[in-house]
Symmetry: C2
Subunit: 95 residues, 2 copies
Amino acid sequence: MKMHNPPHPGEILRELCIEPLGLSITEAAEALGVTRKTLSAILNGRSGISPEMAVRLSLAFGTSAESWLNQQSQYDLWEAEKKRKQLKVRKLSAA
Amino acid sequence: MKMHNPPHPGEILRELCIEPLGLSITEAAEALGVTRKTLSAILNGRSGISPEMAVRLSLAFGTSAESWLNQQSQYDLWEAEKKRKQLKVRKLSAA
DNA sequence: CAACTTGTAACCCATAACGTAACAGGTTAC
DNA sequence: GTAACCTGTTACGTTATGGGTTACAAGTTG
C-alpha cells in the first residue's frame, strides 16, 4: 500500500549518489552540467527533479532516468493527495 | 523495453474515460471541478496531467492517481530523452 | 590577513497550469 | 431566418516553479 511519507528525491540523491562517492555539490553540479544552485535546491528539497534532470542523473550515475522521475512523481502525488478531501469532484463511473 | 513513442495521457483519458461514457468536455470538466479549457488542453496534448489533476481523475473515474501521473512521467521522459545526446554530462560512477 | 572555494540566498527570466473572458461553429426556439 | 444557447477552442493574466547570474556568509589555505 506504500502509505508512508516518501522522502523528497533530493534526499535519496544525496544519500545514494553524492555522499557514497564523496562528491561535493560543486563537483557533482559541474559533472551534471548545471549550476551549484540548481543541484543545491534539489538536494535540499526546494526543487523537484525535472525530466531533463532525470536524464542528466541517468548519464552521470548510470542509473535509470525513469526511476528518478517516478520517485519525484510519488513525492508530488503524496503532496497532492493531502488536498484530496478539499477537491470538489463528482464521481462519473462506478469503476 | 517500452521503446515506442508513448501517446500523451490526454489521448488515453479521452479514449478510456470520456468517450466510453459518452461525456462531453463540458460535462466531464464540471464533474472534475475544472474549466472546459483546462480539460480541453489536456485532451489535446497542450497540457500535461498535474498531480492535482491526477487526484481529480482518480476521484471522478475511480482509477489510481498514480497510474495517471506515471503515464505523464513516461511521456515527459520520452520528450526529455530526445535531447539526451545534447546534454554535456560527465560520467561520475561506473555503476 | 588575503585569496580562494563552498554552499546558499536574492533577484530575474522562461515555462506551464489554471481561471476568466471572448470567439467560431452548430443546434434549437421562436 | 434570426435570435438565444451550447460546445469546444483561443487569447490573455495570474501564479508557481525550474534554472541561470550574481552576491553573500562561512570556511580553508597560501
